[in-house]
Amino acid sequence: MPTVAAAQERHAVRPGFAYPKDREVKIVVFRPDVRVGTLTAGGLDEPNADWTATARTLIAAEIERAHGVQGATVSFVGEPEGEDGVRLAQYRALFGAVADAIMIHRLFVGNRLQSKKEGLDWTLGEGVSALADATGADYGLFLFTHDAYGSSGRKAAQIFGAMFGVAVIPGIHVGYAGLIDLKTGDVIWLNADPQMGGDVRTPEGAQKRVGQLLDGLPGRPVEAPATAKRN
């Protein structure tokens, strides 16, 4: 953890960004990509539909309850059908590629592109306004979380592994979220963390995870100490 923290930043915001003040802006949340399972002692990433369904519901409820974005309303959209569905799928894929680039070249300090060391200068392009037209929103929020908890077998292996000097990763807890300006396509904010906290299978954990995923989102109160206390 310490080396990771030293080499990596968790989020980045477009410099000088502020929501327009003359009106209440609308943020739309696209279907969060949530997957929860167990990392078994053998290293298999085992899917768990019940946990995933629970987590998806809890995360959505938590965003609904405590999104707390000052100066904005937050709403959810389902998966559109037909042409809109294809377009959203393409932009979701483009967002994935852009998020990868930001994680690799911005948040990971050692791999920064010399030409864009500062700021946060990535975009999905103006064509994204088609999503604004379809949803009536000003901003779009994409969320991705993937968890695999250590099973009891794995926890035993960790204890024995530690005794014998073998490193066993306790579980997978990765997540990223990004806010896109649906008029310009600009990435306003991106947050990524390969080792997230919060057991998303419980309301408290989902609260912590959403807090972490949305950490640094413009318009949110600074709340890192508060989440630590809550859990």
Binding site: R35, A41, G42, G43, L44, E46, P47, A49, T52, A157
Partner: protein
């Protein structure tokens, strides 16, 4: 790809997938089946996610006639009620395989249509995948894998001896998987017989696949990989064993009345798809396999399309003597189809490489005359001398 079990894994497919297990044959549920416990719901969820992506994927071949035909063969083989919950996807991937997922999604790879030779063989593959789904092979394999893999890591922490024990633990998982494949193979034979198909075709598929591996190897001057299936870690039985077992079973289990293989119907339905699939195959840089497949599609009657494909195959490789051969095949194709522009293009480009520049340029001019709006017209015009 863990959520999917496949028809074969191993040397002939660059990506291998995990596979399924047997026992427990639940009665076919007429109502839609719902997953019963935590494990099964987890596997379904992953398969559902994959299927969600397939719905917008441009890799899915959506031609209604092809889809209707493949579905018809499936339903005719496994029964109308049984096939109702199955979703079939034809995926543009130029290798021989089909996969089934725990949620009832079956994917058929486009390369399969170049490799099965009649409807009975297609039915055998589809029925094989259906048995994996019906008998919930993946769920059983998953449990086996989880149980064994757990102790494998545990033991592997204890040095060489521990690692060897760990490998032994895992190899039982793979043998479990191989048993499931055999179960799916034999389950499919009974369905073929019920549907009136010639059950021997289920074994003949494997003979063809082995011969193709030999052809690939011969052209590359390498050792055939037909028996390479990963040894004790293979998820699927050796193709030779599968073929032998299927021949033996097909002697015992036969259709009532005169068995059919549906070769004419198969050819009529898929002939329109073949040119694009052959193009995908040619670009795999595997001359031996391509020649083998073209010969089997020809069945002794070389059409202009197949001769053209043969010319393209040799021209693409471009080894010593290949341009002469290619030019020969293009000329034969041209005799049958003088108005086919692509044949002229292939012949012209071959002749330029053979230093028969004048005739080559004439052929390229003919290509441009026949296909003035070709994507490469400006380039070819220059090569043709303006």
């Amino acid at each position: 790809m863990l959520a999917v079990s496949s028809l074969l894994a191993g040397s002939m497919v660059p990506q291998s997938s995990a596979a399924p297990g047997q026992e427990a044959s639940p009665p076919v549920t007429q109502a839609a089946y719902v997953p019963k416990d935590k494990d099964e719901r987890g596997l379904w969820m992953m398969a559902d996610e994959e299927e969600r992506q397939l719905r917008t994927s441009n890799f899915v071949i959506r031609d209604p006639a092809i889809n209707a035909y493949v579905r018809d063969v499936l339903c005719r083989t496994i029964g109308q009620a049984e096939c109702a919950p199955i979703r079939l996807y034809v995926v543009r991937t130029p290798y021989f395989n089909a996969t089934s997922a725990p949620n009832g999604m079956i994917q058929v790879w486009s390369g399969l249509f170049l490799r099965v030779r009649n409807e009975a063989q297609l039915a055998a593959v589809l029925a094989h995948e259906y048995v994996h789904y019906r008998d919930r092979h993946f769920l059983l394999l998953w449990r086996e894998l989880r149980a064994r893999a757990g102790s494998a890591t545990f033991l592997s922490m204890f040095g060489l001896i521990g690692s060897l024990v760990a490998m032994g633990q895992l190899s039982t998982v793979f043998s479990f998987s191989r048993d499931q494949e055999s179960a799916a193979d034999s389950g499919a034979v009974y369905m073929l017989a019920n549907a009136g198909y010639d059950t021997r075709e289920s074994a003949l598929v494997w003979g063809q696949i082995r011969d193709e591996a030999d052809a690939t190897a011969a052209a590359r001057q390498a050792k055939s990989r037909k028996d390479k299936n990963g040894g004790i870690f293979a998820t699927h039985p050796p193709t030779a064993d599968r073929m032998t077992a299927l021949f033996a079973l097909s002697e015992k289990v036969k259709a009532n009345g005169e068995p059919v293989n549906g070769v004419d119907r198969y050819h009529a339905m898929l002939a329109t798809l073949w040119p694009s699939l052959i193009d995908d195959q040619i670009k795999l840089n595997d001359l031996g396999a391509t020649e083998f497949l073209l010969a089997s599609l020809a069945g002794g009657t070389w059409t202009a399309d197949l001769l053209y494909a043969r010319g393209e195959t040799y021209r693409a490789r471009g080894a010593a003597g290949d341009f002469e051969k290619a030019a020969g095949f293009y000329r034969e194709a041209m005799a049958q189809a003088p108005a086919n522009p692509e044949v002229r293009r292939g012949l012209g480009l071959s002749l330029l490489r053979l230093d028969s520049a004048d005739e080559g340029r004439e052929q390229l001019k003919e290509y441009l005359r026949l296909k003035p709006d070709a994507v490469d017209a400006p380039m070819i015009r220059m090569l043709a001398g303006g």
